[in-house]
């Protein structure tokens, strides 16, 4: 076995270890972080960078163009779908009231949800008056930041 092959194999193994470390960091973050949004932040590390590292390790250890072309769709599909699913999960968590608003520095979604709730009052199933807050909002400072699940797409 030539020395260059050995070097490439060792580089591939090191890339695998880095990917495994990213996954472990995400898992520990998933266990330790307090609320779903920060857990979502921890969870996205191995989804893109970890997968790229593993695919790179596979390409380095196989060293053929066919394998490389077979691996491109993996990265492309993950790059396309990971932001969508993260967006959907984060939005569902926010609308459910699972986000701890006290931990947020800026809540940029609250005015939009507020406006959407106001514009869909005629057609939406969820109607809350400005004076009274939703049942899920009793612990929060701002009255209508969340808790209106039927307030638009």
């Amino acid at each position: 076995m030539p020395i260059s092959d050995v070097i490439l194999d060792v580089v591939a193994a090191v890339l695998l270890i880095v990917a495994a470390l990213l996954t472990l960091a995400a898992a520990v973050g998933l266990l330790r972080f307090p609320d779903p949004l920060s857990r979502l932040h921890a969870a996205t590390k191995p989804q893109i960078l970890g997968l790229i590292l593993v695919v790179l390790a596979l390409a380095l250890s196989e060293r053929s163009w066919t394998v490389l072309f077979m691996l491109v769709p993996v990265i492309v599909l993950q790059l396309l779908t990971a932001p969508i699913s993260a967006h959907m999960v984060g939005r569902a968590g926010y609308r459910n009231g699972n986000v701890d608003v006290d931990n947020l520095v800026v809540d940029e979604l609250a005015p939009d949800v507020d406006a959407a709730g106001r514009s869909s009052l005629s057609g939406g199933a969820w109607k809350d008056e400005p004076g009274q807050s939703a049942p899920g909002d009793s612990r929060r400072g701002r009255p209508r930041s969340s808790g209106s699940p039927a307030a638009g797409p």
Binding site: A20, L58, S61, R95, N98
Partner: protein
């Protein structure tokens, strides 16, 4: 080389066990959804690692299918979770708040 592969395998196993703990303990549906997402990502990475270790490329289509269909479960459960009532959402938020006070 074998030592490096063993280290990677041990790290992946520890990560999967941590994620499984959150999947079981997670107080809300969203936490379990995120945990199952990470578990699926770990599975994809382990499939790729196994190909590197054993020196074959037969399970690349499995990686493609897993990566392409992971979004379906996330979107389905997220849509379902968005429609749950405000009462259960408030109860879940209270439970979550109390969990880390």
């Amino acid at each position: 080389m074998t030592v490096l592969w063993f280290i990677a395998g041990i790290l992946f196993t520890a990560a999967a066990l941590c994620v499984l703990g959150r999947l079981i303990a997670g107080p809300t549906l969203i936490d379990r959804l995120i945990a199952s997402d990470v578990l699926l990502t770990t599975l994809v990475l382990v499939v790729g690692t196994e190909m590197v270790v054993n020196g074959h490329t037969r399970t690349i289509p499995l990686m493609v299918v897993l990566v392409a269909t992971a979004i379906l479960s996330s979107i389905a459960v997220a849509r379902f979770a968005s429609r749950t009532t405000a009462q259960s959402a408030g109860a879940a938020a209270t439970e979550d708040d109390d969990a880390h006070l």
